[in-house]
C-alpha cells in the first residue's frame, strides 16, 4: 500500500482553481518528487496533504489515515508519524537549534533525561548539522544550516514519511548534493518515505525514484525520471533539456 495516496483533489484559493482532480501515490520507502512550473500548486498540494489546507473535494490518505475526515485526535496521532520541513525552515525563533529539535521530543515522547541530549545530537547529525550549531539561535544560521536544522526537527519523532518543500532551493550545489545523499541514506537505511517539492534537476536525476508533474491543476506525467523526461510536453521538454521542441 502507498504511504501517501491522493485521489481526485480539487482545491480553490480565493476563487481560483488550483487543483482540478489531482491523483497520485507515493509507495513506501521511495523518494517521490513533485515538480511543475511556478504557481502550478505544488506547495499548496503539499499543504493539502499534510492537513493544513482543506481541499474542496477529494481524499488524501497518509499512512492509511484519511487526513480530511479524521478527527483532530486521530490527525494529531498521524502528525507524530510524519515530519515536515518548510521552505525557509520555520524554526521557532525564540529557541536554540537544540531546543527546536527537542521540542517535539519533549512534547510527544517519554525520553529519559540522560538520553535527551544524545538524541538531539543524533538528529542533528542525521540532518548533517555540526554539533556546535546546537547552541545557536536560528537567526545566527546560514540558509543551508537553517534547512538542515529544520530537517533535524522534522526527523525528531522517527517519522515514517518526510515532506519537504524545496529542500535544496537557495543552497550551493555542494551543500545541495550533500542534502540529497542524506535523504537517500534516510530512505535506504532507515526506510523513510519522502515526498518533496523541488525545482532542482540534479536532485531529480540523483536520488528521486518517482516524479510527479503538476500543470494546469492536473498531474500531466508520473513515473521514473526517464519516463517523465521523454513525455511529449513542451514545458517538460524545456525543463529537462533546456529548450522547447
Amino acid at each position: 500500500m502507498n504511504a501517501v495516496e491522493v485521489q481526485g483533489v480539487h482545491t480553490q484559493l480565493a476563487g481560483k482553481i488550483v487543483h482540478d482532480g489531482v491523483s497520485l501515490g507515493v509507495p513506501r520507502g521511495k523518494i517521490a518528487a513533485l515538480i511543475g512550473g511556478s504557481g502550478s500548486g505544488k506547495s499548496v498540494l503539499l499543504r493539502v496533504i499534510i492537513g493544513l489546507q482543506r481541499p474542496a473535494a477529494g481524499t488524501i490518505h497518509v499512512l492509511g489515515t484519511d487526513v480530511w475526515s479524521a478527527r483532530e485526535s486521530e490527525l494529531n496521532a498521524l502528525r507524530r508519524r510524519f515530519g515536515v520541513m518548510f521552505q525557509d525552515g520555520a524554526l521557532f525563533s525564540s529557541l536554540t537549534v537544540a531546543q527546536n529539535v527537542a521540542t517535539p521530543l519533549r512534547e510527544h515522547s517519554h525520553v529519559p533525561a540522560w538520553l535527551l541530549e544524545p538524541l538531539v545530537r543524533q538528529r542533528l547529525a542525521l540532518a548533517g548539522l555540526p554539533a556546535e550549531a546546537a547552541a545557536r539561535m536560528p537567526s545566527e544560521l546560514s540558509g543551508g544550516m537553517r534547512k538542515r536544522a529544520a530537517m533535524a526537527r522534522a526527523l525528531a519523532l522517527e517519522p515514517e514519511v518526510l515532506f519537504l518543500d524545496e529542500p535544496t532551493s537557495g543552497l550551493d550545489p555542494v551543500t545541495a548534493r550533500g542534502f540529497d545523499q542524506r535523504l537517500r541514506f534516510l530512505c535506504d537505511e532507515l526506510g523513510l518515505t519522502v515526498l518533496l517539492v523541488t525545482h532542482d534537476l540534479d536532485t531529480l536525476r540523483g536520488i528521486v525514484d518517482r516524479v510527479i508533474v503538476l500543470a494546469a491543476g492536473k498531474v500531466i506525467a508520473e513515473g521514473s525520471v526517464d519516463d517523465v523526461q521523454h513525455t511529449d510536453d513542451t514545458w517538460l521538454h524545456t525543463y529537462f533539456h533546456g529548450h522547447g521542441t
Binding site: 515522547s109 529519559p112 545530537r121 543524533q122 554539533a131 547552541a135 522517527e158 532507515l190
Partner: protein
C-alpha cells in the same frame, strides 16, 4: 527487553526498541546488570528498532562501560539502523550556553543599556544630518509620506487623546474640588487644573499615548521592512532610507505632538468644566473667565514646547529600534515592546529635566 547471558559476554534483545518505548528501555537497562565488556548483541527477539532505540542501546551500554563487539541474529534492516547509529555516534558533545549569575547579568544589562542610549544618540545625529540635507535640497522632501504619517499619528489619535484628557480633567476636578471645598477655595480648582494640565499633564499623557500608538508602530513597520530586506532594496535603488522612511515620520511626529497636546489641553479643561458645574457650583461662564485670567500663555507655551522635544525623542527611539531590528520574527516583538517602555521612560526623564531647567530660568 534485554537479557545478559550467564557468561557475561552477550546480550539478548527482544521487544520494540523504538522512540515510543524509550522509558521501558531505560528501565530495562537499569535492571539488567549489563557487564562492562565487549558484548555480542543477539537480536533474535527484536521486533522493531529505530534510530532513537538504537541510540539508547549504544549510549546505555557506553554509560555502563560496555560496547557492542559483534551482532548476531539481527534482521538486515535492524542491522542497518544500528550500524548507522553507531557510525555517526562519534559526534562531539554539544556546546552548552554559559550560565550567567546576577552580577554578570546586571553588568550585561548595564552595558546593553549604555549601547542602546549611544545608538539612539547616534541615530538622532543621523536624523539631524538628514534634515540638514533636506534644508539644502528641499526637493528631496517626501511630502506624500509626510502627509500620510500626519494622518496616522495626528488625525487618527484625536479621539483617544480627547477622550483620555477629558476624563483626566474630570478626575482632577473631583480630586482637587473635594479638598479645596473644605477651605472654601473651590475657585482655585480652575487654576490647578488649567495650569497643571497645560504645563505637565497633557504633554505627558499625550506623549504616552503617542508612544504606545506611533512609537510602537514605527518600530513594527520599519522592523518588518528590514526583515523582508525592503530597506536594503531602497539603498540599492539609490534611495536613502533616512529620507524616505525616517525623516517623514520624525517630522510628522514633531508637528503632531504639539497639536495633540493643544487638543488635550482643551479637553482636560473641558472635562474639569463639566465636573465643576454640578460639583463645585462653578458655572461654565465663570470657569472660562477664571481660566482666561489665570492661565498665562507661558504655561501653554511650555507644554507645547516640551511636546516638540517629546515627539522628537519618541520618533528617534521608535525608528532606531525598527531600523536595527535583528533578522528574525521574534525580535520585532521584543523591539516593539522595548520601544514603548523606553519612549515612556525617556519622556518622563526629559520632563523631569525640563522641570529643573525651567525652574532655574524662571519660567
Amino acid at each position: 527487553m534485554i537479557e545478559p547471558d550467564a557468561q557475561g559476554t552477550s546480550l539478548l534483545l527482544h521487544g520494540r526498541w523504538t522512540l515510543a518505548s524509550l522509558w521501558d528501555i531505560d528501565a530495562a537497562l537499569r535492571a539488567a546488570h549489563v557487564p562492562a565488556a565487549h558484548l555480542t548483541i543477539d537480536g533474535a527477539g527484536l521486533e522493531a528498532v529505530d534510530t532513537a532505540g538504537a541510540l539508547a542501546l549504544v549510549q546505555g551500554l557506553a554509560l555502563r562501560g560496555a560496547d557492542i563487539g559483534r551482532t548476531v541474529n539481527l534482521q538486515a534492516h535492524h542491522a542497518h539502523i544500528i550500524d548507522a547509529v553507531r557510525g555517526q555516534n562519534e559526534a562531539p558533545a554539544g556546546v552548552a550556553l554559559p550560565a550567567r549569575y546576577w552580577v554578570g547579568r546586571l553588568g550585561f544589562a548595564g552595558a546593553q543599556l549604555a549601547r542602546l542610549v549611544r545608538s539612539d544618540l547616534d541615530f538622532a545625529g543621523r536624523c539631524m544630518a538628514a534634515i540638514a540635507e533636506l534644508a539644502v535640497h528641499p526637493g528631496r522632501a517626501r511630502w506624500k509620506e509626510f502627509a500620510a504619517q500626519l494622518e496616522h499619528i495626528c488625525i487618527e489619535a484625536l479621539p483617544v487623546v480627547a477622550l483620555v484628557a477629558f476624563l483626566i480633567g474630570t478626575v482632577l476636578a473631583y480630586l482637587f474640588g473635594l479638598q479645596a471645598e473644605k477651605y472654601g477655595a473651590s475657585i482655585f480648582v480652575v487654576d490647578a487644573v488649567a495650569i497643571g494640565s497645560a504645563r505637565e499633564l497633557a504633554p505627558i499623557l499625550v506623549a504616552v499615548i503617542v508612544a504606545g500608538r506611533s512609537g510602537a508602530a514605527f518600530t513594527a513597520q520599519l522592523g518588518s521592512m528590514r526583515l523582508t530586506e525592503e530597506i536594503d532594496a531602497l539603498r540599492t535603488l539609490a534611495l536613502s532610507p533616512m529620507q524616505v522612511l525616517v525623516v517623514p515620520r520624525l517630522l510628522a511626529l514633531v508637528v503632531s505632538l504639539p497639536l495633540l497636546v493643544f487638543v488635550g489641553d482643551l479637553a482636560a479643561i473641558g472635562g474639569a468644566m463639566a465636573a465643576s458645574a454640578p460639583l463645585l457650583d462653578i458655572p461654565p461662564q465663570l470657569f472660562i473667565e477664571r481660566v482666561h485670567s489665570q492661565l498665562a500663555l507661558q504655561h501653554v507655551a511650555v507644554g507645547l514646547g516640551k511636546a516638540v522635544v517629546f515627539g522628537a525623542a519618541i520618533a528617534v527611539i521608535g525608528c532606531r529600534a525598527g531600523m536595527n531590528v535583528e533578522r528574525d520574527a521574534r525580535s520585532i516583538g521584543v523591539a516593539t515592546t522595548s520601544t514603548v517602555v523606553r519612549c515612556i521612560v525617556a519622556v518622563i526623564l526629559l520632563d523631569a529635566l525640563f522641570a529643573v531647567w525651567l525652574q532655574s530660568v524662571g519660567l
